[in-house]
């Protein structure tokens, strides 16, 4: 025979999923949120998103190429996601140099210092976001209001997010029913008419993304559903006990970064547990931590911290929570 046969162990057929495919799937799922953010925040959103994405990819390329001197992996799309997620949780009036700094921290410290894709224990986008949040609290506390396409960038008119209104108001001794007047209606919250980071405001866009990812089987339902349900139940209990001091569950779900975090951040493959059971435990813990930080902590929002804390527990969850082995359930008869 002129040509040599190829020999390899079975199987001899492979599925169509590849790492870039899955990553681009997540990017597609983020498109509604991106569009919504541009719709609500205008040029500011465009600038923030594009700067974050470009600088993330660029830093990944530069560090891998020149510092680590190995094959670059920018084509797999994971750096794009990091950039996108980072930008989506920033305010639309965020200065460019800080975005670049955040991307550098997210990619350089959050991802590549641990060995690149697949080895980072913490979600890189959240690492970048929390770094910015803690280092530059002033810049991260003025949230432009979502009021249709705007042309202003740095000097966009700002206001407080619903969560910080509640937090401050409760601190001053106001009651919820009184504070609720200062907050947009639930309908507005659902479609994103409020102050906040560019990606988290439009609940409907995020839910669209979730539906797409579930449909394409990019993620499973376990993490988002368990987080959201836990938040609903926990805040529901608090609300039931004292409705004057605690906002109702729907308010908690629709405001802040719960949806963005539960759907896109907590479900990051690398930093979430491997088994369904593990994912549910992880989700429940994130939900509880979020509410605890929101209600009893000093920050108005706690999703990012809750996710990062639980990221740290993922190896432990993976070690102890095993999938149900075949043959475990012995049924007689």
């Amino acid at each position: 025979m002129s040509k040599l046969l190829t020999v390899s162990p079975s199987p001899h057929i492979y599925g169509k999923d590849t790492t870039p495919n899955l990553m681009y799937g997540v990017i597609i799922a983020l498109i509604p949120a991106i569009l919504a953010s541009i719709l609500y925040f205008g040029w500011g959103a465009v600038i923030v998103i594009s700067v974050a994405v470009i600088s993330s990819v660029l830093f990944e390329f530069l560090i891998q190429r020149f510092l680590l001197q190995k094959k670059t992996t920018i084509q797999d799309g994971s750096a794009v996601i990091t950039g996108l997620l980072l930008s989506l949780c920033l305010p639309s009036n965020f200065p460019v140099w800080l975005i670049i700094l955040g991307s550098l921290f997210a990619i350089g410290v959050g991802k590549l210092s641990f060995g690149g894709l697949g080895n980072n224990p913490f979600n890189p986008a959240l690492v970048g976001r929390v770094f910015l949040f803690i280092s530059f609290p002033a810049k991260m506390a003025s949230w432009p209001e979502a009021q249709g396409f705007q042309t202003q960038y740095i000097d966009a008119s700002t206001g407080a997010t619903p969560l910080s209104i509640i937090k401050e108001g409760l601190g001053k001794g106001d009651s919820i029913s009184h504070l609720m007047d200062k907050i947009p209606t639930y309908q507005q919250l659902f479609f994103g008419n409020m102050g906040g980071s560019i990606g988290e405001v439009a609940a409907v866009a995020l839910i669209l993304g979730l539906a797409y990812m579930l449909l394409r089987k990019i993620i499973t339902w376990h993490i988002p559903v368990s987080i959201i349900l836990t938040v609903v139940i926990f805040t529901g209990i608090l609300w039931f006990v004292n409705p004057e001091k605690n906002a109702d569950p729907l308010f908690h779900i629709l405001t802040g970064g719960i949806l963005l975090g539960a759907i896109f951040m907590a479900t990051d493959y690398v930093t979430s547990p491997m088994t369904g059971k593990g994912m549910i435990i992880y989700g429940i813990c994130i939900g509880i931590l979020t509410v605890v930080i929101r209600r009893f902590g000093s920050y108005p929002e706690g999703v990012q911290f809750a996710i990062l804390i639980m990221n740290g527990f993922v190896p432990l969850i993976n070690y102890y929570i095993k999938p149900k082995r075949f043959g475990e359930e012995v049924k007689n008869g």
Binding site: M1, K3, L5, T6, V7, S8, P9, S10, P11, H12, I13, Y14, G15, D17, T18, T19, N21, L22, D76, S78, G116, L117, G118, N119, T220, Y269, V270, S272, P273, M274, T275, G276, N318, K322, P323, K324, R325, F326, G327, E328, E329, V330, K331
Partner: protein
């Protein structure tokens, strides 16, 4: 279909089916000039030759005797002269003892009934049947090639309640069982009745995936004439043909880790095995041929052949239109669990259900990327294992933990390697880890 079809619950994948030959009737392949009959075509101890060089043998004559409990006898598949008893490369390329017979004419042993009439009445006792099956060298024809008579002798104190007949054929391309069910359905049913008598069970369930709707209809028709046999269409899902998965799908019971099907009261046999049992018991015909699917997208004439054991693969591929120019890989068995061959000169063995010819562009593996812990391998594993972890532990030589993580439960179905988006060779390493753990357990 309106009502939900049965299937197993945990894991599983849906590879493309490519059943190119499900409409091609079984053809009888002409005799080759020479056959090479390997002495170890089954699980267990190799058989010992009872003929010597220069002997003339007839079709169906015993040429190698099985020894020990788990072993199977081997019969000549052709008539002619034994020209060589030597070590010949087997499917893996390693040399194993084999008998080479040069074909002269086609003279059968006298007691074999060659007519194709259906013989429905079972006149033998349980022990007689068992002895006949043992003498005929029948092994599991689904692929594992476990000696069938061993499966029929139940361990002390165990009792079978039902017989499960595996007509799932969940591997892509393969249609040999499908055609057998369509063309030899009644013979197979008699074979099932025989197996039921040996096992002393009153119920037999035939599981067939629903992509073979014609076989399901056909067998349902015939089954009404046979007492106690029922046909169940199953949802299409790989690896439903796995013994444990099929039992789960049909009965809802899970065979516990490292236990046998009989522990949940069932015995599983393949449809081809049932047919071979029919021929052995009713026609005195030992296992000398079987149906093999020769398929592939670039083959000129993909077909189902009745092939004598020991025929060179090259002969089969020639009969199917010759090896295409762009061939990259030739596989014995299915796409998911089959073995890639390094030579076309290897012979057909009892457990071979198909020969697949894959074009070059479909054979290359993609480059290995880092694991992104997407947990898809965990999701698809039908045994509830964590393939990513097993691979890691094998690479780290952590055999103690490998055993604890139940690596021995792996059925090597390949779902994990199939689904992995980073193209990681999960099964390659898990298989290695399994071998190592088995070695350690044996040493204990």
């Amino acid at each position: 279909m309106s009502k939900m079809l049965k299937t197993f619950r945990k894991g599983g994948i849906h590879p493309a089916e490519y059943k190119l030959t499900d409409k091609s009737p079984v053809e009888i392949l002409p005799l080759p000039e020479k056959v090479t009959i390997l002495l170890s075509q089954h699980m267990g101890v190799p058989a010992i030759p009872v003929v010597s060089k220069g002997d003339t043998v007839k079709v169906g004559q015993l040429i190698a005797q099985g020894r020990g409990f788990v072993s199977a006898s081997i019969h000549s598949s052709v008539s002619g002269k034994v020209v060589k008893i030597d070590s010949i490369p087997d499917l893996t390329g390693y040399k194993k003892p084999a008998i080479v017979i040069e074909v002269e004419g086609d003279e059968w042993e006298e007691n074999i009934i060659q007519s194709t009439d259906l013989r429905k009445d079972i006149t033998f006792s349980k022990d007689e049947i068992l002895e006949k099956i043992r003498e005929s060298g029948i092994v599991g024809l689904g692929g594992a090639a476990f000696p069938s008579h061993v499966k029929l002798i139940l361990p002390q104190g165990k009792k079978a309640k039902a017989l499960i007949i595996n007509g799932v054929e969940c591997e892509p391309y393969l249609t040999s069982d499908h055609r057998l069910m369509l063309e030899y359905g009644e013979e197979m049913m008699v074979g099932i009745r025989i197996l039921m008598r040996v096992l002393n069970v009153r119920k037999a369930m035939i599981g067939i995936e629903n992509n073979k709707a014609d076989a399901v209809c056909h067998l349902k028709d015939i089954a009404s004439k046979f007492h106690g046999i029922e046909v169940y269409p199953l949802e299409v899902k790989y690896p439903q043909g796995g013994e444990k998965q099929l039992i789960k799908a049909l009965t809802g019971r899970e065979v516990p880790s490292r236990k046998l099907p009989v522990d949940v009261g069932v015995i599983v046999h393949n449809v081809s095995t049932a047919y071979a049992v029919y021929e052995a018991v009713q026609k005195n015909k030992p296992l000398i041929n079987r149906i093999i699917t020769v398929s592939g997208k670039s083959l000129k004439k993909p077909s189902n052949f009745v092939v004598r054991i020991g025929t060179p693969i090259r002969f089969l591929i020639e009969a199917a239109g010759g090896l295409p120019e762009n061939t990259g890989k030739v596989i014995s068995g299915g796409l998911m669990m089959g073995k890639a061959l390094n030579s076309l000169d290897v012979p057909v063995i009892k457990g071979m259900s198909g020969i697949l010819v894959l074009p070059e562009d479909e054979t290359k593996r993609k480059s290995i990327e880092p694991c992104i812990r997407c947990s898809k391998c965990v999701t698809v594993c039908p045994m509830g294992l964590e393939p990513y972890l097993l691979m890691l532990l094998t690479q780290n030589w952590d055999f103690y933990r490998l055993e604890k993580e139940m690596v021995l439960d792996c059925i090597e179905c390949g779902s994990c390697s199939y689904i992995c988006p980073a193209n990681r060779p999960l099964l390659d390493f898990i298989r290695l880890g399994k071998t190592d753990v088995k070695k350690i357990i044996r040493e204990r």
